[in-house]
C-alpha cells in the first residue's frame, strides 16, 4: 500500500478524522465500523477532510466495538459522498471537505493492522505532536513579525519596542514558544524511542494551542489597528492559530 505513496509523484492521501460535533473526542468516534460477512461497513459523517475531492486514498477513522480504528477507503466507493469545499475561519489555503459515509463497504484487509487492528493511540499521539510543532511554527512566525514591526514603528519619538508594555509582551511570547517547543520535542522523542507518548503528546498539543492563541493575539495587538488589516499577515495567523485545537487529524494529510 505504501510504495505508490512514497515513490510516485505527489498525490493527496487524506485522513478523515474530525467529526462535526461540538464534543468531538478522538477516542469516541461517532462514525462506526461494523463487521459484515468478512467486510467492514462504515457509517458516519466526517469534516475537515483535506483534499477529499482529489484524494488518491482515504484513511477513515471509525469506532469498531467502541475502539477507534482506521480503515483504508478508496475514493469513489459506493455510499461515499464528498461534500463541497468547506469554509473556515482560517487555514484557507487548504481545501477540506465534509465526507458522508452511508454503508460504505471495505474488505477485511482495509483495516489498518489487518485482523488484529492497531493502536490508534499511537496515531493520535503522533498527530498531536505534529500539531503542536505546527502551532509553535505558526506562533514563531507571528512573534518574529511583531518583533520586527515593534522595532520599526515609532510612538512619541521612540520605537514601540522601547516601551516596556510592548517589550514585556514580546519577552513572554518568546518564553512561551521556547518552553512549549521543548514539550513538543519531548513528545516527539518519546515517540521515536517507542515509549508511551500519550500524555506528553496531549500536553504538547494543548500547550501548543494556548501558545499559538496567546502569541498570535498579541502579535495583532502589537501592530495595533494595522494588525487587524489584511495587508499584514498577523490577522491571518491569529485566525489560523485559533484552529489549532481542531487540527489534530488535519496534520495527518
Amino acid at each position: 500500500m505504501l510504495p505508490p505513496v512514497v515513490e510516485g509523484d505527489w498525490k493527496p492521501y487524506a485522513s478523515a478524522f474530525v467529526e462535526p460535533n461540538l464534543d468531538f473526542a478522538p477516542a469516541e468516534m461517532r462514525t462506526t465500523a461494523a463487521r459484515s460477512n468478512g467486510s467492514y461497513v462504515l457509517n458516519g459523517v466526517k469534516t475537515m477532510v483535506p483534499f477529499a475531492a482529489q484524494a488518491a486514498g482515504l484513511l477513515v477513522y471509525a469506532s469498531l466495538d467502541g475502539k477507534t480504528q482506521a480503515f483504508v477507503v478508496p475514493p469513489g466507493s459506493a455510499g461515499l459522498k464528498v461534500g463541497d469545499r468547506e469554509a473556515w475561519c482560517g487555514l484557507n489555503a487548504l481545501p477540506t471537505h465534509r465526507l458522508t459515509l452511508e454503508g460504505v463497504k471495505v474488505p477485511a484487509d482495509a483495516r489498518l493492522g489487518g485482523e488484529s487492528g492497531h493502536d490508534a493511540q499511537l496515531l493520535i499521539a503522533a498527530t498531536q505532536t505534529a500539531t503542536a510543532a505546527l502551532a509553535i511554527g505558526l506562533a514563531r512566525a507571528a512573534y518574529e513579525y511583531a518583533l520586527a514591526y515593534a522595532k520599526d514603528r515609532t510612538v512619541f519619538g521612540t520605537a514601540i519596542a522601547q516601551k516596556q508594555s510592548i517589550a514585556f509582551m514580546l519577552a513572554e511570547m518568546a518564553t512561551d514558544i521556547e518552553a512549549i517547543r521543548l514539550l513538543a520535542w519531548e513528545a516527539a522523542w518519546l515517540l521515536d524511542q517507542g515509549k508511551d507518548a500519550a500524555q506528553a503528546a496531549l500536553m504538547a498539543v494543548l500547550g501548543g494551542a494556548d501558545c499559538a492563541m496567546m502569541v498570535t493575539d498579541r502579535a495583532v495587538q502589537i501592530l495595533g489597528g494595522h494588525g487587524y488589516i489584511r495587508e499584514h499577515p498577523v490577522e491571518r495567523w491569529m485566525r489560523n492559530g485559533r484552529g489549532v485545537p481542531n487540527f489534530p487529524g488535519l496534520a495527518m494529510v
Partner: protein, 419 residues
C-alpha cells in the same frame, strides 16, 4: 542528539535527595514555618555529613572545582558534563521537600555559585573547600541595599577602598538570604557586591568575599516573612570591614569602556537563576502532587486522555498545571544543559526564572482555591507552599527585571534603548 533521559548519576542523586526530602524535611516543614529563626540543626548536620561522605565537594559542579591532578598521571576521560544539571535536580527535589530548609543546606549555594562562576583557582580552593570541613558552613549573597533592589548591581553604594593589603568595605546590605547562618551561626562567608570606583558606575562594581568573624561585618537584623521562614533573611552593616586583597572576585582594575570586570561578575546570575527556577518548580511539583492526592482521597477521579471540551473545571486546571510545570522544567533543564556545555545561557536563564516564578505562584494559588478549606488550612502544607512560592518571583531578580533582560536580548537592545 537530543535526549530527554535523566543521566544515571543524576537519577541516583534524585533518589537520595528524595529520601532526604521525605524523611528530614517534610516532617519538620510546618515546625520551622511556625518557629521562624529557629535553626534546623538536625537537617544542617545531616546534610553536612552526607556531603562529607560524598567527598565534601558540595553542590558546586565538579567542572568548576579545583582539580587535584595527580602528577605524572594522564587526566581522566571526561563523561558528559552534568554538574549544573545535577545541581538543578537537587534544588528541585530538596525544595519539593521544603524550600526554607533547602536554603539552609550547608553545601554551597548562591555565594559559592558566585565564587565558582567568577573566582580564580586559588579562590575556589580557599573558599569552597570549607564545605567539606569538620563543621557545617553556610554561604550567602549580599546584593540588595535599602535604596535599591532591581537596579542592582548598577546602583551599588557600598564601597570597597583599597588600603595596602586589604579592601575596606562600608555600606549596608539587606535581604541577605541565609546571611545570619553564614556569618554568625557558622564559619561561612557572604559574597558582598561593592564598588571600587563610584565614579565608574556599573563598571566599578565587583563581588567580594567577606568571611565569618571579619571585624566590622555584623548582622543587624533578621526579617519576619510571608514564607521560607526556615531560612533567615538578614541585614549586614559593613563598617570599615577589612578583608584581604585577594577576596575580590574578578579584576581589581576598572575598565570604564568595556566594563569587562562587571560583565564577568554578572555571569554568576546565569548560574544562579536556573537554580532559583528549579527550586520554584520543586514547590510547584509538591503542590500539584498534593492536589492530585487530596482529590483522590476525597473520591475525585481525574480522567486522562480526553479533550478539553469534556473536562471538568478541576480536570482542566490540573492539566494546565501539568503543562505549565513540565514545559517550564524542560526550559530550566535546557538552561543548565547550556551551562554544562559552556554555552551562553543568559537568555534561557532569565526565561526559566520568569516562567518558573509565574508558574509556581499560579499553581500554588490555584491549588489553595481548588482544595477549598483544606487548601487554606494550616493542617496541610498547601497554604505554606502558596506563601513560600512568591519569593521565587522576587529574589535573584524579580519577574520584571528578568523580563527586561529577555526583552533586551531578543530585541538586541542595550540599556540605553530599553530601560
Amino acid at each position: 542528539m537530543i535526549s530527554f533521559e535523566i543521566p544515571d548519576k543524576v537519577r541516583n542523586t534524585v533518589t537520595l535527595m528524595t529520601m532526604v526530602a521525605e524523611n528530614m524535611m517534610r516532617p519538620v516543614a510546618r515546625y520551622f514555618d511556625d518557629h521562624e529563626h529557629e535553626i534546623p540543626w538536625d537537617y544542617i548536620n545531616m546534610m553536612h555529613d552526607a556531603n562529607k561522605q560524598m567527598g565534601g565537594g558540595g553542590f558546586v559542579p565538579s567542572s568548576d572545582k579545583p582539580k587535584k591532578a595527580p602528577e605524572g598521571e594522564a587526566p581522566k576521560k571526561e563523561g558528559p558534563r552534568i554538574g549544573y544539571q545535577r545541581l538543578a535536580y537537587s534544588a528541585e527535589v530538596l525544595s519539593w521537600g521544603d524550600t526554607g530548609l533547602y536554603l539552609c543546606s550547608p553545601v554551597g549555594l548562591l555565594g559559592a555559585a558566585a565564587v565558582a562562576a567568577t573566582g580564580t583557582l586559588e579562590q575556589k580552593q580557599l573558599f569552597l573547600t570549607r564545605f567539606g570541613g569538620e563543621k557545617p558552613v553556610l554561604d550567602a549573597m549580599a546584593l540588595t541595599e535599602p535604596h535599591a533592589g532591581s537596579a542592582m548591581p548598577a546602583e551599588v553604594r557600598t564601597t570597597a577602598v583599597r588600603d595596602g593589603d586589604s579592601w575596606v568595605l562600608n555600606g549596608e546590605k539587606i535581604f541577605v538570604t541565609a546571611g545570619h547562618k553564614a556569618l554568625v551561626d557558622t564559619q561561612g562567608f557572604v559574597v558582598v557586591w561593592a564598588t571600587i570606583d563610584p565614579s565608574a558606575g556599573r563598571a566599578g562594581v565587583r563581588p567580594f568575599v567577606v568571611e565569618a568573624g571579619t571585624p566590622g561585618g555584623p548582622v543587624t537584623k533578621r526579617e519576619h516573612k510571608l514564607g521560607i521562614r526556615a531560612s533567615d533573611t538578614a541585614s549586614v552593616v559593613l563598617q570599615d570591614c577589612r578583608i584581604p586583597l585577594d577576596n575580590i572576585l574578578g579584576s581589581p582594575e576598572v575598565e570604564k569602556k568595556s566594563g569587562e570586570g562587571f560583565k564577568g561578575a554578572m555571569a554568576t546570575f546565569d548560574a544562579s537563576r536556573p537554580m532559583v527556577a528549579a527550586s520554584a518548580l520543586g514547590v510547584a511539583r509538591a503542590t500539584l502532587e498534593a492536589v492530585k492526592e487530596m482529590l483522590a482521597a476525597h473520591g475525585v477521579t481525574l480522567r486522562t486522555g480526553i479533550p478539553r471540551s469534556r473536562m471538568t473545571n478541576t480536570e482542566r486546571e490540573v492539566m494546565d498545571m501539568e503543562i505549565l510545570l513540565r514545559s517550564t522544567w524542560l526550559l530550566v533543564l535546557k538552561s543548565v544543559w547550556m551551562m554544562d556545555e559552556k554555552k551562553p545561557n543568559n537568555l534561557e536563564a532569565s526565561m526559566g526564572k520568569v516562567r518558573a516564578g509565574d508558574v509556581v505562584v499560579r499553581i500554588t494559588q490555584k491549588a489553595v482555591e481548588l482544595l477549598g478549606p483544606l487548601g487554606y488550612s494550616r493542617e496541610h502544607l498547601v497554604e505554606k507552599w502558596f506563601r513560600d512560592a512568591k519569593i521565587n518571583d522576587l529574589y535573584e531578580g524579580t519577574g520584571q527585571i528578568n523580563r527586561l533582560i529577555i526583552a533586551r536580548r531578543i530585541l538586541e537592545y542595550g540599556r540605553n534603548e530599553l530601560a
